[in-house]
């Protein structure tokens, strides 16, 4: 029954990453600085094209929150040669599908289509990298759409509003504290000029990575990439990705969010945590394993054992950590108490369970099982070439290299119980933490 609850907290999840070692990966760099990755999988005549830009919400100018995501919507509006909506319609008319997504660290556009149509989608994707044409009317209408998107994702969802408030408290100075979709009052003011400014700076071949995955020959992909992307002008004065950094965090932040729409109160605590660093992924690997050990599978995890099975104080517990991030990320613990346990009692129980774990150490059998699953996930991942393409895209736009991605499975296997406990003691620093209570109008779980 745990899958429902995991889905409820999907925003926090990054599943255990895996990259097959025997995959066929070929890489190039075009003269204008654009990186090209080709992942071969010839089992089906399908191809996925993705273009990843090293620009996300955390790269936005101050006061313009949501512009990276707004621009992502506007990229579907047209160029000199494409009418508004024509790209998606052309992809659909050829049996394909397309979409895009924006995160704090990247924006990506992708199509999935029969492999003999790669040139078609490449021509259109390259066209909109430099030749976007926007009208005031496009911007006005699409701004209504993103405001409705914010309504749907955030305003209508107390858990999402709560997450937004906690995140803002977690990052006191770094832009990760600002929601990707944007603050509503700033979204309402986003303009055509704001969009074009962000576009012209960041949408350039020397700030982009092309990933083509599927039934393709690398040499053919390179030839097409040179023809369509190779002719594009780079941005000459591309800024370094330097965000404002956090000051020392000296005091835990605690917040309570009350909303009559809350049906299931819970306690969640996030700690500032190091991300995967290029060439030094050990600590992140230890934290990845720590999250699995503490709160992966509720029936076998430490928190599940102690709080769902032994004391039966919790309906659900979990730990989340996602190491793919350009700057410091978070490690989170959550407890959803059973009806007769208060949030204060739940928080105490959670703290006690973690303290006991640090005393008792890692159960070696559990660690072995997790490592076995990680090895197996390399095999299962061979069945999902698009998933591997996404891993590369997210990693390479978050400060990691291909070598880092390929080394990651071995790094995970190399981590010892001692390293995990050491990483845990370091990350569980209450001065770096935000503890949040989500409650309903009555103020407490019954």
């Amino acid at each position: 029954m745990t899958s429902y609850f995991r889905n409820a907290f999907l925003a926090l999840i990054l599943t255990l990453p895996a990259v097959a070692q025997a995959e066929k990966l070929t890489t190039y760099q075009l003269d204008n600085g654009m990186d090209v990755l080709v992942l071969e999988d010839h089992r089906a005549p399908v191809v996925v094209q993705m273009v990843w830009y090293k620009a996300g919400a955390a790269d936005e100018p101050r006061g313009k929150s949501g512009i990276a995501h707004f621009l992502e919507h506007l990229l579907f509006k047209g160029t000199d040669t494409l009418a508004p909506g024509e790209l998606s319609k052309t992809v659909a008319a050829n049996g394909g599908s397309d979409n895009a997504f924006t995160s704090q660290d990247y924006t990506a556009y992708h199509q999935r289509i029969a492999s003999d149509r790669l040139e078609l989608v490449m021509r259109m994707e390259a066209d909109r990298m430099r030749n976007l044409r926007l009208s005031e009317a496009d911007v006005e209408t699409e701004r209504e759409v993103i405001l409705e998107e914010r309504n749907q994702r955030t305003e209508n969802n107390p858990g999402a509003l709560f997450a937004e408030q906690r995140n803002a408290a977690q990052y006191m100075n770094h832009p990760y504290g600002i929601p990707v979709i944007g603050w509503k009052h700033e979204m309402e003011e986003l303009s055509l000029e704001d969009s074009l400014e962000f576009y012209q700076r960041y949408y350039a071949p020397n700030n982009a990575i092309l990933i083509v995955a599927g039934d393709v020959i690398p040499e053919d992909v390179l030839a097409l990439a040179e023809k369509y992307y190779g002719v594009l002008e780079p941005t000459v004065d591309l800024p370094e990705r330097e965000r404002t950094i956090e000051p020392p965090q000296l005091s835990e932040r605690r917040l309570t969010f009350t909303d009559p729409r809350v049906a299931q109160p819970y306690v969640i605590r996030s700690y500032l945590a190091p991300e995967r660093d290029s060439g030094a992924q050990e600590e992140a690997a230890a934290l990845t394993l720590l999250a699995e050990i503490l709160g992966g599978n509720g029936a076998t995890s430490v928190l599940g054992n102690k709080l769902q099975f032994d004391t039966q104080q919790a309906i659900y517990t979990a730990a989340f950590y996602s190491g793919v991030s350009l700057d410091d990320t978070t490690f989170s613990l959550i407890i959803v108490p059973v009806p007769d346990i208060s949030l204060e009692e739940a928080e105490q129980a959670l703290d006690q369970a973690v303290a006991e774990f640090l005393e008792e150490g890692v159960d070696e059998e559990q660690l072995d099982r997790i490592k076995m699953q990680l090895r197996a996930s390399l095999i299962y991942a061979e069945d999902d070439v698009a998933g591997r393409a996404r891993q590369y895209g997210a990693s390479l736009t978050s400060g990691l290299t291909i070598e880092d991605v390929q080394a990651w499975p071995d790094v995970l296997q190399s981590i010892t119980s001692e390293q995990i406990i050491e990483a845990a003691k370091k990350v569980f620093n209450r001065n770096n933490a935000v503890t949040g209570y989500l409650m309903n109008a009555e103020g407490e779980a019954k």
Partner: protein, 438 residues
């Protein structure tokens, strides 16, 4: 050694080949269990899907939620293993099992490495044939289900769909949530779960799809091990449901939230209706085709009234709906509803254009082969095809059926099925400018 009897029927290749050498084999185990298999030895694992027809529709009177709760307990201990031991055993094998229940179907999905196949299947067999339903597990999972039900009561999307289903199907199982209510779930006993299992998970209603690193002989033996010990016969399938949605108008459910959620529907047609393919194509143009659909163009692209709008066909075993959903802020939902009604009326009266039909066909026929990506996906498609009683060569002929739809067919089906005057909207929120509020 058990001798395996199996027959092999090679399906024809579709126009756009799916996989270089996709071929569905019809496997029959020594004990007579059928499965469709696609062999693919390139990756050392297998995915299997077992569909049991009936699903939550087989909940006994007064026991709503019994099948769902039972399914939630299948992974909570079996045979000698308690809940935690069972979970640890699954992890040690790096296998994955999923148990899901829907209105008409109960689905068991599994993936396992070739090196662990026997152990993985033995463990899954024990979950299917000797689940423990321990008291402690029952209470724990009951608590989870109660939490889900409470959550759904404050979720505008869930409130909308529950309200619409109740209005459309009344006391038939389709008219209520398969989770049950707090009251019904509180009253369920261990015996109710055993009864629910014996009603649903039986040999007479199994459809199996398997894909991956396994031969027909190996699959035959696996089927007998996995499913051979299940009871022969389950409870009779539910009766057909009587459609009762109010014709036209809106039902407003007051809920304090900034964006109203609307779900709308009228009666649809059955999956085996001769007009199904024409309606499928028509729905794609109307609201099923994402950015290519008329509703997305009119409601989102032109007017910015929503982030997303879609329509879909819901041909259940015992009753069919044609449905859609849209969400707009409280002050704009009335306008969105007006646009939907206008589009509905226009297409009902005038059909679609030749170009819209051609584009829809190109998309649907081109996209079809792209569905077959990944072992688990293909296993699920094959189980679903059998459950719908489609022939084994269906994949090869499906695009021809789409291409055979003419503009005349569309016009006829639009006039027959699309009923703008019947379209009923359930709106959850604080919509402005809509009739009486409930």
């Amino acid at each position: 050694m058990i001798r395996v009897f199996f027959s092999t029927v090679l399906a024809m290749l579709v126009a756009l080949p799916l996989r270089a050498e996709i071929a569905i084999q019809d496997v029959t185990s020594p004990k007579g269990i059928h499965a469709w298999l696609v062999e693919d030895h390139s990756i050392p694992f297998t995915a299997i899907e077992v569909w049991f027809k009936g699903g939550a529709g087989l909940d006994a009177p007064g026991k709503r939620g019994a099948t769902n709760l039972m399914v939630g307990l299948l992974e909570e201990g079996a045979g000698d293993l308690d809940s935690q031991e069972f979970a640890a055993a699954v992890e040690a094998l790096a296998a994955s099992y999923k148990f899901d229940v829907f209105d008409d179907t109960l689905i068991v999905s599994a993936q396992f490495l070739t090196e662990n196949r026997d152990d993985a299947i033995d463990l899954l067999r024990s979950a299917l044939t000797e689940p423990r339903f321990d008291e402690a597990s029952l209470e724990r999972v009951r608590g989870q289900v109660r939490s889900i039900i409470s959550g759904n009561e404050k979720d505008p999307n869930d409130i909308a769909s529950r309200t619409l289903n109740k209005l459309a199907w009344g006391d038939h199982p389709y008219g209520s949530s398969l989770n049950g209510t707090l009251e019904s779930v509180n009253s369920l006993t261990r015996d109710d779960l055993i009864e629910a299992k014996n009603a649903t998970m039986t040999r007479d209603r199994i459809h199996v799809g398997a894909v991956g690193d396994i031969t027909p002989e190996e699959l035959g033996a696996l089927l007998d091990t996995l499913l051979g010990d299940l009871p022969e016969e389950g409870a009779p399938l539910p009766a057909d449901a009587t459609y009762a949605l109010p014709r036209g108008g809106e039902t407003v459910v007051e809920f304090e939230t900034p964006q109203s959620v609307a779900i709308f529907a009228h009666e649809g047609i059955a999956r085996d209706d001769d007009d199904f393919f024409a309606l499928y194509v028509l729905n794609h143009v109307l609201g099923g085709g994402g950015f290519a659909s008329v509703l997305m163009e009119e409601v989102r692209e032109k007017r910015g009234l929503t982030y997303g709008i879609s329509t879909y066909l819901v041909p259940k075993e015992h009753g069919a709906l044609m449905m859609g959903q849209v969400a707009s802020s409280n002050d704009r939902i009335a306008e969105a509803i007006t646009v939907v009604r206008d589009v509905w009326a226009d297409i009902a009266a005038n059909g679609i254009t030749e170009k819209q039909l051609t584009d829809a066909k190109t998309f649907l026929t081109g996209a079809y082969p792209l569905r077959f990506d990944g072992n688990a996906t293909i296993a699920g498609i094959m189980a679903a095809m059998q459950s719908q009683e489609l022939p084994i060569d269906y994949i090869a002929t499906r695009n021809d059926k789409v291409n055979a739809v003419t503009l005349e067919d569309i016009k006829r089906v639009a006039a027959r099925v699309l009923k703008p005057e019947d379209l009923h909207f359930v709106v959850v929120g604080q919509p402005e400018g809509l009739g009486d509020q409930q």
